[in-house]
């Protein structure tokens, strides 16, 4: 069992959870497990089968783009996180 930490902007689409336990042996499987549990997240993370280009996924301290992308292997206890682009607190 690994976990994925969500940034604040995505938490409303995951029942306001900050960290979600996920199944899977790769980053891709873990993300599939995540959107399986919280289907509203899918549109924010994926464009079809591909991760959206502005979605940054890290395993521990490392960006999966510099590992094996969605094929990056993970272990039980791995901590994944999604890093959001945030610009400021401008209200609308």
């Amino acid at each position: 069992m690994a976990s994925i930490k969500l940034p604040t902007p995505l938490r409303p689409y995951a029942g306001n959870s900050a960290e979600i336990e996920v199944q899977g042996a790769t980053v891709g499987e873990a993300l599939a497990s995540l959107v399986g549990q919280h289907p509203d997240l899918r549109a924010h993370l994926f464009d079809g089968e591909d991760l959206r280009s502005f979605v940054n996924v890290f395993v521990g301290e490392e960006d999966i783009r510099f590992l094996q992308d969605l094929d990056t292997p993970i272990q039980a206890g791995s901590r994944l996180r999604i890093i959001p682009a945030i610009a400021g607190g401008r209200p609308i």
Partner: protein, 396 residues
């Protein structure tokens, strides 16, 4: 990690007796000392924005004895700024932020030379303004300006001390393409406007930009004085609600369009078009999205008074309902509207409103895709209603 590059030459400056008294706690600090303090005095820093991040930045950098501070801001002080923008005071409301900030800085440290730029930073002026400074600090609140600052820093070979805040979260890094990754290496493309979940509810804990702004000031001083390990190639993630600080590694992207091996961006571009959003309130950029039909608060009031069968739909967040409400409005937060279509009749006119009219326009576009046609966006949102129709309500 490479050594910090030398950004300033202290040989041209000296410290007066008054400055030695003022900076004594730096001078007795071995890592700074006279040499380091002279570097700070010889240095110039450009602060883009004198808001939440810019306030602590300007105050600490001025107090620390930075020789020349450039400030970029075109805005005036608003009451809603005072919760976090501590360089401005209650008596400054309505005054230009530059004048207000300059007065605070002059009182903190009269040795600092202040240069004011009362313009929105743009592709036309950014290179000229940034070129005059050793270190650039990004304290803006929108994506177009962040990409603009990044690209201008890469093209000019300047370090960009980056900080960003949202609600309870903050980020910090030093983007310096000569030594490491740039902002685009991490964020190659901005989130499209319709998919930024954050725009549903902005807001920021008032002390959060204080924390991140002081960390940016720390990094700027380290860069100039050549102290310790700068945040080049690292991103700090601060979560105030958990009080956690975590650091992740950033790498230079060899395919980065601006700092990679074969750059395709070799001059500044149109950043509002790139991000699909306006950069600031004075922008003439219009989002390339379908306009929606608007209705004024006066028309809404007249139709309600005439007994029209209007449905008022309030798509703000629950915490905003505590601030102000239009009586009789159906309340469904923007993110939940599509799950409650059964509560929204297609055969009635629906007036959608939020705080100022932007979220409600998004909701209308989403409802139009569901086949709704009788939709009106209440111009100016509930704040306009509070100003013109029901002054008993507060504006926020």
């Amino acid at each position: 990690m490479d050594a910090i590059p030398v950004l300033v030459d202290p040989a041209s400056v000296s410290l007066s007796h008054a400055e030695i008294r003022r900076y004594s706690r730096h001078l007795i600090l071995p890592e700074v000392g006279v040499e380091g303090q002279k570097k700070l005095k010889a240095a110039s820093i450009l602060l883009i924005g004198t808001g939440g991040l810019g306030s602590p930045l300007a105050m600490y950098l001025a107090a620390a004895g930075i020789g020349r501070l450039g400030l970029v801001d075109y805005d005036v002080v608003d009451e809603s700024n005072l919760q976090r923008q501590v360089i401005h005071g209650t008596s400054d409301v309505g005054r230009s932020k530059l004048d207000s900030a300059a007065a605070t800085i002059a009182d903190l440290n009269p040795h600092v030379v202040i240069e004011k730029y009362a313009v929105p930073l743009s592709s036309d002026n950014a290179l000229d303004i940034l070129a005059k400074y050793d270190v650039i600090i990004d304290g803006t609140d929108n994506f177009p300006t962040r990409y603009l600052v990044n690209d201008a820093c890469v093209l000019l070979g300047k370090p960009n001390v980056y900080g960003s805040v949202f609600r309870f979260e903050g980020q910090l890094s030093v983007f310096y393409a000569r030594q490491g990754p740039c902002y685009r290496c991490l964020f190659p493309a901005p989130p499209p406007p319709g998919l930024v979940p954050s725009c549903a509810d902005g807001g920021v804990l008032g002390v959060l930009p204080g924390t991140i702004g002081t960390l940016q000031a720390t990094e700027a001083i380290k860069l100039i004085a050549g102290i310790g390990q700068p945040m080049i190639g690292r991103l700090l993630l601060y979560d105030a609600s958990e009080m956690s600080f975590e650091t992740i590694k950033l790498r230079k992207n060899p395919n980065c369009p601006v700092c990679g091996e074969h750059p395709t961006i070799t001059h500044l571009i149109d950043y509002e078009q790139f991000c699909g959003v306006p950069a600031h309130d004075h922008s003439t950029y219009e989002e390339g999205r379908t306009p929606v039909r608007a209705i004024t608060v006066d028309e809404v009031k007249a139709r309600l008074d005439a007994g029209d069968d209007l449905l008022i739909l309030d798509v703000r967040e629950p915490q905003e309902w505590e601030i102000s409400l239009i009586e009789g409005a159906r309340r469904i937060p923007k993110g939940d509207v599509l799950r409650h279509l059964d509560e929204l009749p297609r055969e009635r006119d629906i007036v959608v409103h939020c705080r100022t009219g932007i979220r409600s326009a998004d909701v209308i576009r989403a409802l139009q895709e569901q086949g709704y046609t009788r939709l009106y966006n209440m111009a100016g949102g509930i704040n306009a209603w509070a100003r013109k129709i029901d002054p008993s309500l507060p504006v926020y």
